[in-house]
Symmetry: C2
Subunit: 362 residues, 2 copies
Amino acid sequence: MKKTSALLADGREIIYFDESDAAARTLIDGRDLPPFRLQPTVRYDAVLDEWVGLADFRQDRTYLPPEDQCPLCPSSDSRLTEIPASSYDVVVFENRFPSFAQGTDGAVLPEAPREQFFRQRAAVGRCEVVCFTADHDSSFSALSASRVRTVIEAWVDRTRTLSALPNVADVFCFENRGKEIGITLSHPHGQIYAYPFPAPRTRQMLDAARAYQHRTRRSLFADVLAAEQRSGDRIVARGESWTAFVPFAARWPLEVHLYPHDHVPDLPALGDAERTELSSIYLDVLRRMEAVFDDTLPYIAAWHQAPVRIDRDLARLHLQIFSTRRGPGKLKYLAGSESAMGAFVNDISPETAARLLREARP
Amino acid sequence: MKKTSALLADGREIIYFDESDAAARTLIDGRDLPPFRLQPTVRYDAVLDEWVGLADFRQDRTYLPPEDQCPLCPSSDSRLTEIPASSYDVVVFENRFPSFAQGTDGAVLPEAPREQFFRQRAAVGRCEVVCFTADHDSSFSALSASRVRTVIEAWVDRTRTLSALPNVADVFCFENRGKEIGITLSHPHGQIYAYPFPAPRTRQMLDAARAYQHRTRRSLFADVLAAEQRSGDRIVARGESWTAFVPFAARWPLEVHLYPHDHVPDLPALGDAERTELSSIYLDVLRRMEAVFDDTLPYIAAWHQAPVRIDRDLARLHLQIFSTRRGPGKLKYLAGSESAMGAFVNDISPETAARLLREARP
């Protein structure tokens, strides 16, 4: 695999991950773009003890353009896209409408607490787009295992690089898929958010893991995985290095967690064999999920990694894939109980979901 | 106001709140229904230290029926609905597809911990539907202030009654509005969930309030309200007993919090004058929200009350109304960052939202 970095016309970085070591790239973005200067902010919510992002310029972001105006397709002689190349394997670039960014000069703006409840600061971090294939009409589940392996190498590289940036606390690789999830571009792609704080779910999992470790001297994630393996009721797929299961208290109609058998903190810590098996088991799980209902599958695939600077031993890398699809033509919505109170109610039993996934014939 | 209770054909309770003290009700449900026996469960999620509801029978619930089959309209000679009456003012009844229920004999099923990670128990609690008007085509914002006052009296009555049930820990009155929020019935109605646990957001707010009180000996909610009143930047409406503001770290494009000036724990603790002003300020805020964008307003209106048995002095009653509408034809979706990591990014600045709401001419 060959990695090549360059800058887009407005100064944003673009990185090609080519499967052939012989790939040669001409790295000129011919567009006339003003310098990239957007600076989102984060605000502290004292009532919930959480940081919230504010990026009001995102209101103007590209929204479901027609295919012949897709900014993630390769450039052609007649049209320049975000990717100044005639084709690519996997390519990563800085998001033009970022929720977190390094700022034009990389400086950290000072926090300005005019009032203790009104704390805000620059949303220092980074948001990247990961294009999985140059084929506009493809999808992650249609990729070859070797292409998924290239995507994994891109995630590994970006996790390592973004973790080294000042102020980055949590690196989140994910894919939103389907217009029902709110995607604004249909070209097969994922995203990476490098947060300046440990994300709320990360904190919540680590609080639970810390309390469990304090009580038992054991790893919560290892013991949950072992319990699911012993039970078998909710197992979807097993490999040498990975096990996929529907969690006992799943929140979503279709939800699968994929755990590595070894206690690794993040994607860069995975060994070669683990990465290879991950490529095929990820595809197997996703294809099963897509085959359960006779309808499109909107989904979110989310990599939970250890935060960058704390709790490296406490956290365990795992993938969470979940869908709002609860049947053909039917979606689960987050209404009052979920959105306002955080109390989820699932319409499909996890054992039923696991059986449907095991029986699915992709 | 006159309150009249009865039982539906399957044993569920129905309660009429009539504005005229002279209202006379014939309390016979002529339908032939099997006894109500559904028992949802809750499961403990050890990885997030939260309870999750499981109600798989809800898959079959009524989904957007045509108007002439609406189960929340009054009954007629030719059609029997959930409300066996020819008209009503405000009526409350037990949900036919509940996420939490008392069970057929009211007994609490024993917890069955076959395995420490697989704890589940009966979802003992109650779910009720609150119909705001017999007029199918109306909406909360179109109600008169006196009708809203009747709705408030119904919420007060139900909060008091449900709080007295064994095992109920948190009573949540709310309205989901709009098909984009996932409502399954368009007739103007809200719901009440009586949870067997303090809801995750309740816990999170109280954890923050407890830490703040420990540090400062002061009330977090009182001090946040005072800071918003001093600043004025995000105030939407002020009354004698209530102030409405967009929170400094709002998560949603349009989000308004309505706080009482007195530190009351829940709706039953409101005095007469507070209830009367609430009727008009609630309508004022909601009508402003509906007037901001030239489009329908899907929204969730959520009453945060003190939990039933703990932290009664720490919590303060407040109303949170929020919409996913971020512009005409545009919705905010909860995608990867929000749904998988709990990290919200808002596309509209709270000060802009407050200005739009202040300038709105309903």
